[in-house]
């Protein structure tokens, strides 16, 4: 802290002197660097401690045969790529990766479409829209584990609201329908839960974006004869592209690593066929004490996320600049 005023006074002194001595210049540079580094240090320490260390440790574990005993007492052995070979040869783990990519992508699409629709609706100057804007936020405030438990009950075969409502509406096939007894039907229920929870953030972010679009631009487009769809496609969407890009990347990361909803709702799906990579990694590590293999699943998931995120950023970035 004491170096900053010194630097300032040194700077002032140099105005009158024709040429400051080298020592003063050097001190000025040190001062200029010290402050930023000092200010960033706490954040750096926290990031390295909370993100860097676990990341490095997970990558390291994925190359070892660490079990519970090795974790407590040490002594794990390096097994090279064996764990990764197992990830792709084991039927259940391979299926969990496919589930992650397919189901995650569907969730991203669902969330974006629903979020966009809600944002456009809220952007209309309708009476009481502020009330709906607040109401839309509520699902986002519900903890994922609580939401999953609630939706599991809503989709319960005998006591659930969903089956009751469907039967009342005349779909009698849903009497005692067991949503979680099959992979596809379980995914339908989980999809609704995930989208319900994640669309508010997307909707409100897009709403903020929509409100920055100058009305003059839209009016001009209307004068030029553009209908509502063309105004959306040719004016609104390109202007929102940077926001959409960021939101798609966020959603991808969230939806590819969903854990709570799958852990709570898909536990009874026969042969655990609906597990995603995050749940498979947890089960492999903590239920089976195969920490090496579990870490390998986590690393593969990390790489998948990295590839998808880079892909999006490049794709959307390029279109934006063209």
């Amino acid at each position: 802290m004491s170096t900053a005023p010194a630097a300032v006074s040194a700077g002032r002194a140099s105005e009158s002197a024709p040429r400051p001595p080298a020592a003063v210049i050097a001190r000025r540079w040190v001062a200029r660097l010290t402050m930023p580094v000092l200010l960033l240090l706490p954040a750096m320490v926290i990031i390295v401690g909370l993100i860097g260390y676990p990341l490095v440790r997970t990558v390291y574990l994925s190359f070892t045969d660490t079990g519970l005993g090795e974790l407590i007492y040490g002594g794990s052995t390096w097994v090279g790529l064996d764990n990764f070979k197992e990830v792709f040869s084991d039927e259940h783990l391979r299926a969990s990766l496919v589930n992650t990519v397919v189901f995650g992508t569907l969730c991203v699409i669902g969330t974006m479409v629903f979020g966009f629709a809600t944002a456009l609706l809220l952007n209309q100057r309708l009476r009481g829209n502020w009330f709906f804007a607040i109401a839309v936020l509520l699902p986002w405030a519900v903890p994922a584990i609580a939401a999953s438990a609630i939706f599991k009950w809503l989709f319960d075969s005998r006591y659930g609201f969903v089956n009751w409502a469907l039967v009342e509406l005349g779909f009698s096939g849903f009497q005692d329908y067991a949503w979680f007894a099959g992979r596809v039907s379980a995914y339908v229920a989980i999809f609704i839960t995930v989208v319900w929870q994640s669309f508010p953030f997307i909707a409100l972010s897009l709403l903020a974006g929509l409100q920055t679009i100058p009305k003059e631009t839209l009016h001009a487009a209307a004068v030029d004869g553009a209908g509502p769809w063309n105004r959306f496609r040719l004016v609104t969407l390109p202007l929102l592209r940077p926001i959409v890009a960021v939101l798609v990347v966020f959603s991808t990361i969230w939806d590819f690593k969903i854990f709570d909803q799958i852990y709570v709702m898909a536990a009874g799906v026969p042969d655990r066929a609906a597990d995603t990579a995050a749940v498979a990694a947890y089960r492999e590590g903590f239920a089976l004490s195969h920490y090496g293999l579990g870490s390998a699943v986590a690393v593969v998931l990390f790489l998948i996320l990295l590839v998808f995120s880079l892909l999006y950023v490049r794709l959307i970035g390029r279109e934006g600049s063209a």
Binding site: L71, S157, P270, D271, A287, S289
Partner: protein, 427 residues
């Protein structure tokens, strides 16, 4: 928050009891001060079988113990069975273990093998149910003290069976016939059974009932004995109820408590359940007491009606900071007076031989089948350190679910299971 308030209530109650305590409390207090003075605090994990009564009895243990030993604190937490195995693993890996815990008998060898548990020195076999001591033994050393035990028998709705015109089933064939009669005659959306996809203690014993074995000891290691026609037949029998629509469609993804809820709600007529479940059901729905009948588990084609002898040990963890206080609390919980309180209220049999004699179960016609089932018609799973891992991995659940859904046959399932078990036993 909840944990905190429980602790507060405990402390307040302890103070009240200590203040107004008569000569009884004084005596136990004197006994303790005669030996080493106990102090400090311990955390205790107790499994939660969903019975409100077990919580109050165990909380009372903590309160009484604290009152008898001023200056000590016992923090009791309840962990649902379904999450317990994962929680123990996480706790050991993270170094945040409880001092004392109730542990399922099939897990004790596993955690002992990993070096997580303290060896229990004062075990003499005559005092405890011997199969439960065997289940806690690894390489000749005992790592847990048997607390309680139970075996699942059959409970059924007398009114529904009467309506269907059938007697309580005694064999597999009876069971199937009764189920079909209930399906056609009772109505009201009642399902005859709830055989679930996630309750191994319901389906694995059918292998014994069919005359098969689960695993055999082969010197140091174990070998799967599942790849047999008997085991295949057992899984096919179990799954046939689901396939024939005699079992709720959602049951393939149910845990045991889901089946119990369905029975308590009157949606299911017959349930494989232990005495603790029976107690829990009539505690929540007292009017069911007169409607529920009990019977031994149905016998398979071999004539055996074997059920799984389950139960729990009290264990202490190696990384516990206060092993003396932990040991004292374990011994306190195993005192005959405390055990009697427990068994009468909860519906388990004690793990000590004296406790069983004093329980009076064999004189109560409604509860007699549970005691008979445990004493004469029960067996334990292989006490291998690998067994807990097999349970944790849910390998059995996945295969039985596939048979129930018709995606695989009993024969394919036992073949696959035998392969997976042998891999785990060897690895």
């Amino acid at each position: 928050m909840r944990k905190f308030s429980v602790a507060v209530v405990g402390v307040v109650l302890a103070a009240v009891v200590a203040a107004c305590g008569g000569s009884d409390d004084q005596q136990t207090g004197d006994k303790a001060t005669a030996s080493d003075k106990l102090s400090g605090s311990i955390s205790v994990w107790i499994m939660d079988p969903g019975s409100p009564k077990i919580q109050s009895v165990v909380k009372q243990y903590g309160t009484d113990f604290e009152a008898a030993h001023p200056g000590t604190k016992v923090d009791i937490q309840f962990v649902p069975w379904a999450q317990a195995h994962d929680k123990f693993v996480t706790a050991i890996a993270g170094g945040k273990v409880p001092d004392v815990a109730e542990m399922g008998t099939t897990w004790t060898p596993e955690f002992a093998d990993q070096g997580g548990l303290v060896e229990q020195p004062q075990i003499s076999k005559g005092d405890y149910v011997s199969s439960l001591v065997d289940a806690a033994t690894l390489n000749g050393k005992v790592y847990g003290k048997p607390w309680y035990a139970g075996a699942r028998a059959l409970i059924y709705r007398k009114d529904m069976l009467q309506k269907a015109g059938v007697e309580a089933p005694k064999t597999w064939d009876d069971m199937m016939a009764a189920a079909k009669a209930i399906k056609s005659k009772v109505g009201g959306g009642v399902y005859p059974v709830s055989f679930t996809g996630l309750s191994e203690h319901m389906y694995l014993p059918t292998i014994w009932q069919a005359g098969g074995q689960i695993a055999t000891q082969d010197g140091e290691t174990w070998k799967s004995a599942l790849n047999t026609p008997e085991a295949a037949k057992a899984l096919d029998y179990y799954a046939s109820f689901y396939k024939d629509g005699l079992d709720p469609k959602a049951a393939v993804g149910w845990e045991e408590p889901d089946a119990q809820t369905a029975f308590a709600n009157g949606d299911v007529a017959m349930l494989i359940a232990g005495g603790w479940t029976y107690n829990s059901i009539i505690a929540t729905k007292p009017d069911l007491e007169k409607k529920i009948g009990t019977e031994l588990a149905p016998a398979g084609p071999s004539g055996k009606n074997t059920a799984f002898a389950g139960g729990s040990h009290l264990v202490q963890f190696q990384e516990s900071k206060n092993k003396d206080l932990g040991a004292a609390f374990v011994d306190f919980m195993l005192e005959p007076a405390q055990l009697n309180k427990f068994t009468s209220e909860i519906g388990f049999l004690p793990g000590t031989t004296d406790g069983i004699k004093a329980s009076g179960y064999l004189d109560d016609p409604q509860r007699k089948p549970f005691a008979e089932q445990l004493l004469d018609h029960s067996a334990v799973y292989p006490p291998s350190p690998k067994w807990g891992g097999l349970e944790g991995a849910n390998i059995f659940d996945g295969e039985i679910q596939k048979v129930m859904k018709g995606q695989s046959t009993g024969q394919q399932a036992v073949q696959e299971l035998a392969k997976k078990m042998d891999e785990e036993f060897a690895g």
